[in-house]
Amino acid sequence: MPTTRRQFLSLAGGVTVAGTIPIVTLRPLEATPAMLTTAIRNVVGEAPIRTGRVKLDIPPLVENGNTVPMTVSVASPMTAADYVKSIHVFNEKNPQPNIGNFYLNPASGRAQVSTRIRLADTQKVVAIARLSDDTFWQVMADIVVTLAACTEEMN
């Protein structure tokens, strides 16, 4: 029986799919939202996370994910009785969900931290602040990335 074009293509397609799936399953390169949730729970524990008080300044559209300026600030009087203990920043789709942990104290005066980060894909960035009364507050931002970072080939 002569092989038709349709049979040949479906067979070739099947081989390709079978060949690529094991690679994908063996090496998930992007942090899944489950990894993001786990990373957040590692910091927060079982405590509830409320939305608000935290501000995340980050461009909504970035051309180069290799260096994205980011500023996190928290509305806090920064007194000995009421201050921000730490700020934690996470991402959704980089190979690893953590970006940075920043530890402050009443002597900080202002709860604000700036740095430059890498983003491997268009994704969400989450900033969580831990206050001195051990409540957690968060903010989320969506960022569109046109040139990805982290996993590109070396030249």
């Binding site: 690893q96 940075g100 942990n101 920043f102 890498r118 982290c150 996993t151 030249n155």
Partner: protein, 105 residues
């Protein structure tokens, strides 16, 4: 020049001052491959500490998602004249330090 530090030379007592630091480091993520498929090993700064006259005022844990040549800006209250000491630690025993002075009136 391994690090650039920006601290105001003078401040009034009680002023909130901004401290900016920039250090030179590749921050290799450990997720990149060479053209022939070999994984490039991770080489990053993992922690940064700032001390003001010996007291820790700011600390950060860094991850591969921090861009190369890590830049950090943070704040503190100017309490007394003295010295800020900065320390970066990382993979493969990396350690780098810097310092800056301030006069508080």
């Amino acid at each position: 020049m391994p690090a650039l530090i920006n601290v105001p030379a003078k401040a009034k007592r009680g002023d909130i001052i901004e401290i900016r630091t920039l250090t030179s480091h590749i921050m290799e993520t450990g997720f990149r491959h060479t053209a022939d498929g070999r994984l490039v090993p991770r080489d990053i700064i993992t922690s940064f500490t700032c001390r003001y006259n010996g007291t820790e005022i700011f600390r950060a844990d860094l991850f591969p998602a921090i861009a190369a040549n890590p830049y950090l800006s943070f704040f503190t209250v100017a309490k007394e004249s003295g010295k800020f000491e900065f320390e970066w630690m990382g993979d493969n025993g990396y350690c780098s330090t810097a310092s800056a002075s301030i006069t508080v009136e």
